[in-house]
Amino acid sequence: MKPQSMGQAVLIALALIYLASLYFMSSPVWMGFTINALIVAVVALAWNITGGFGGMASFGHAAMYGTGAYASAILQVQYGINAWIAFGAGIVAGAAMGAFIGALAFRYGLKGSYFALVTLAFAEVLRICASSFAITGGGSGLQLRLEPGLSTLQFNDRAVVYTILLVIVALVMALTAWLKYSRFGAYLIAVRENEDAARALGIDTYRIKVKAMAISGAFAGLAGVLYLQVWLFIDSAVVYGSAVSIEALIGPIIGGAGTVWGPLIGTLGLHLLGEGAKHLLHNAPGLNFVLYAVVLICALRFLPQGLMGLAARIGTFRKKENDNA
């Protein structure tokens, strides 16, 4: 997790300064905006596990995000189950959905754009299902009863919500760092780099990939539950929509896929850029996605390792290790 160059240290410091400055700005608008960005950062971190370390670029992380959000919402709204239990159930549901999609896709050896398309298809099917069944609230979605308190995991004070999200993002990043330097992480990277060689070296590549999807699904489910607990309302377009899937992959790619800090930095940078453009150009709808597309194309063309990769080349501390922070 430690930066390995001056450039990376500066990038990380900038992100931390921005995040800390919100405590002094007392601007509800910026707070709300950053809370959103942090929730997206958690899905981005989820995508980073499979897409970054494992090289399996999903185009449908909304499938796990939405499943987490819906599982938690259904338990609370339809069955009156405690928010904490529903919170845990949302994470488990996300993990299960990830494992399920992975098990199916990898059973048939899907890779590259085929894998991306299948994940997209799953998210779309789930979106349509969620908008048609009564238990998911159909087209009108599900609304949590406003009931602030620790037992309902709802907080009026935005600063409290923000702090909780910061802690969760930090935890997910710490877990990511731990995974990266574990046996599982090494195996996942090996699968990305060369699957045949990985198989020869005794790696059960199918199991590793499904496991990665489950972990990624758990993180994505967590992000979905966070969205639900912060905004108290979900519908199929919001949590299963392709906007979630796009934001999940674009942040890590811009920030640096397969790094610990990349997804957070990429997501914050993009959201700031999108927000800035919105103000400059008077809220033209959908504009941020046009902008994202342009930035994504530039990043893919000019920054193969994202911002973290670029920053790594500026003022290197030590040449010896090849992996990024």
């Binding site: 195996y187 060689a197 020869a200 010896k320 090849n322």
Partner: protein
């Protein structure tokens, strides 16, 4: 240690391997020879579990391993290397070797230590922190061997680890392989470099058009008319004989 019986594999109409059998005794170095396209690599892919044979059995340490997936076979102690080297390009040399070491050393520090030790033993000490993509062909071949050793495998199937090396590099690798064998490993090696086969292998098999056509010591094999024909074409053995007498 390894018993292969009547192994066969067709691709469409082509019989890539046809009823091939071979034995590798524990502690031995056995060669697998044959002209281009003879089916040597296909044999390896079947033995190591990468493709299922149409027919035949593979027994390793007394157990039937036919059709098991590669990772199971590797866990049992048999590993193949690739003719076309397959490094994890984005990782350092040490990390590459560590991927192999993780098989039996679950802790990172331990796996990296094993990787360092094996890297040094194969003369890669100075390259450990370099990205694998920066290695020369000789370095990459050596890395294949190092990674395979790191898994703790007892039987190594080497697919042309000396192809493309200059003679001095060949004799280095020959020395390394002999040393590893003396430490208790067994080798089945596909090799075109005759110098290497002659000096390393105790026995060798010759494959041609998917069929096992000869088995013996390397010295016997180079005098076997069938083998000479397979390599040099029909009638070559007779012409060579005449040349000797004239």
């Amino acid at each position: 240690m390894l018993e292969v019986r009547n192994l066969s594999k067709s691709f469409g109409g082509l019989k890539a391997v046809d009823n091939a059998s071979l034995d590798v005794p524990e502690g031995g170095i056995v060669g697998l020879l044959g002209p281009n396209g003879a089916g040597k690599t296909t044999c390896f892919t079947m033995i190591a579990g990468f493709t299922k044979p149409n027919k035949g059995t593979v027994r390793f340490m007394g157990r039937d391993v036919t059709g098991l997936p590669p990772h199971r076979i590797c866990e049992m102690g048999m590993i193949r290397t690739f003719q076309i080297v397959q490094p994890f390009a984005g990782l350092t040399v040490q990390e590459n070797i560590a991927v192999g070491a993780y098989l039996h050393h679950h802790d990172r520090a331990e796996a990296m230590a094993v990787a360092r030790q094996i890297g040094k033993r194969l003369g890669m000490g100075a390259m450990l922190d370099r990205p694998a993509s920066s290695l020369t062909i000789a370095g990459r071949k050596r890395l294949e061997l190092a990674r395979a050793l790191a898994t703790g495998a007892k039987l190594l199937l080497l697919d042309e680890v000396m192809a493309g090396l200059i003679p001095s590099e060949v004799s280095e690798i020959v020395g390394i392989i002999r040393q590893i064998r003396d430490e208790g490993h067994t080798f089945l090696m596909i090799e075109h470099v005759m110098q290497a086969v002659m000096s390393l292998a105790e026995t060798a098999y010759v494959l041609n058009h998917g069929k096992m056509i000869a088995h013996g010591t390397p010295r016997e094999l180079v005098q076997d008319p069938g083998v000479v024909e397979a390599y040099l074409g029909h009638g070559a053995a007779a012409r060579l004989q005449e040349g000797h007498h004239a």
